[in-house]
Amino acid sequence: MLINEDPVLNSAVSVLGQSLRETEDQLARSMMESGAPPINCTSGTNGDNPTNITPLDCSKAVRLLRTANAQFIMDMIEGELKFGTAPVRTAFFGLGHTNLSADLDQMIGFINVANYSNTSNLLQSEWGSIRNIRFLLSSVGSITPNASANLEDVYNIFLPGQESYDMVDLDGYSAQFIYAPPEIASPQLRLYQTAGWKMAQVFNITNTSWIVNLRCTLAVAL
């Protein structure tokens, strides 16, 4: 009898890889929630504190970082002769939650990644840019629930400059993928195999002057 088997392990490896990286994101996110100095968006019009995000709030956050001599993460993308595209400034990354996408789209001057003059080397999570910030959005982005003046959810957008935080691996315990074949996982009858990952690492802010938590609420309701 012939049996066609799905490549279960291949699928598992892919999913476990995503699980590992999202876990790392969550650890880094929580560390930044604790230590990244917060500034509120105050130029929006939703009547809350912090307000919804505006281009002026982005400029203020960048000004704070640049005055503290924080270095940009990304180089400029030069303009090219392509219809509907625009150059992108040198930029800090803005690490936020995917719920922010509609509010970002509403900002005058926001450039979606589709309108970058050069779309090579983009990260999958990049949503677009405005002023000197390129936004990376994730479902594990930071939200502080019921924390605004009107007790709405507050979205934390972290703007790290170069060398503002680091990751320390316990020696020999950086991310490891561990596969146990049936001979090891179930030696009696060799019924199943296992795959998993483990790591021991901590994220740490190295200079609080080079990172900002830009806090905002939503103008576009969920």
């Binding site: 929580s30 230590g35 509120n40 105050t42 504190n49 912090p50 307000t51 003046a149 007790l151 609080t208």
Partner: protein, 364 residues
């Protein structure tokens, strides 16, 4: 899955909830007040007492969070007391998962009294205890205070509590308050150290900063400030040359209700710090930001130099720590099962022992 039985004991701090870190999944928890059972333990003399809870149980799968099945002493006769069984409706047991912290219920604020500290009055029983961190919001005539998290420093009654916020420039307001956590528990953001919002700054030499939420800073820590100009004290901020203006901690009082940090700095010439009125809304928070650690021997005018190596020793006070952990919180109240005021831990220092029946998940 396998079963574990975990046991332990502790001495409580008066009127303060006690957190017991337990890694495994708790299925059953039993707590005994040894002191109120008349048992000598942990150096505390037994004191068999009438009408107080002497034992409590919690079955998380079946019982409401924050409650307890309690055994309360009846009237003591000689060396024994009869036992009565009942339900403690609040300040019982709370399973705690630092990564999934549960906010408390929204409670209506009827008013507050603006002042150098703020007394808040709720419309219904708040159930807070000293040390709880609470967030206020929806303050219709004081929106500038909305969203603040503060530690409860006193509980005047079931409908009154006090925080260190200096609200002198604000108007009283209705609003909403809810419990975020407790100053003695890992904070929702998990990691230490955290920035802290400033309640007030004393223009003195040395400068004393009071914080809205209890902190756990220590002598030798270095901080910097980020204060919006509407608050004053802008001299403390990083200057236009980009170099952070840093301050070394020379004394701390981390007690709930005091929450001060003393810094090696002459603040007598500072612009006064004050929470602004509603007209300045919205604005950012005035914060004190952990920065690193310094050498306290650099400040002989404020603090006696310590002999080497202590003055130069790495205290690692602001080393990053992930404080996430699971466990169970034992609530505090008046030691009875009374509605509103009841709770397990009392205003006395007592000896306790406990037992948890847990499930330990294992992997092949």
């Amino acid at each position: 899955m396998e079963t574990q039985i975990v046991t332990g004991g502790f001495v409580n701090v008066a009127s303060t909830p006690f957190f017991i870190p337990i890694r495994c999944q708790i299925d059953e928890f039993r707590l005994v007040n040894l002191t109120r059972s008349g048992v000598d333990a942990f150096g505390i003399a037994g004191n068999l007492t009438s009408d107080v809870i002497s034992e409590a149980e919690f079955f998380p799968r079946y019982m409401t969070r924050g409650t307890a099945r309690v055994y309360q002493n009846g009237t003591v006769g000689g060396d024994l007391a009869p036992i009565q069984v009942g339900n403690l409706p609040q300040n019982g047991f709370y399973l705690f998962d630092a990564a999934n912290q549960v906010k408390g219920p929204n409670i209506a604020i009827a008013s507050f009294v603006p002042g150098t500290t703020t007394v808040w009055t709720t419309s219904t029983s708040h159930g807070f205890v000293v040390g709880d961190n609470v967030r206020v919001g929806d303050l219709t005539t004081a929106p500038e205070l909305g969203g603040l998290v503060m530690t409860v420093t006193a509980v005047g009654s079931t409908t009154q509590f006090t925080t260190l916020l200096n609200s002198s420039n604000s108007l009283t307001s209705v609003g909403t308050v809810y419990r975020v956590g407790n100053a003695f528990l890992p904070q929702p953001s998990l990691y230490y150290p955290e920035w802290r919002a400033i309640a007030s700054i004393t223009l003195a030499n040395p400068m004393v900063v009071t914080l809205l939420v209890r902190q756990v800073y220590q002598v030798g820590d270095v901080v910097r400030f980020q204060i919006p100009t509407v608050f004053g004290a802008e001299q403390l901020n990083t200057t236009n040359n980009g170099l952070p203006v840093e301050f070394t901690v020379i004394a701390v009082n981390n007690a709930v209700g005091t929450q001060t940090v003393t810094l090696a700095y002459d603040a007598t010439a500072l612009t006064a710090f004050a929470w602004p009125a509603a007209a300045s809304y919205p604005f950012s928070l005035p914060i004190m930001e952990p920065q690193g650690e310094g050498n306290i021997n650099n400040f002989p005018a404020y603090i006696a130099p310590a002999p080497l190596p202590y003055g130069n020793q790495n205290i690692l006070g602001f080393a990053t720590q992930n404080q996430g952990q699971n466990g169970i919180l034992v609530g505090a109240g008046d030691g009875t099962n009374a509605d509103d005021t009841g709770g397990l831990i009392t205003s006395d220092v007592e000896a306790w022992c406990w037992r948890a029946v847990c499930s330990q998940q294992t992997f092949p």
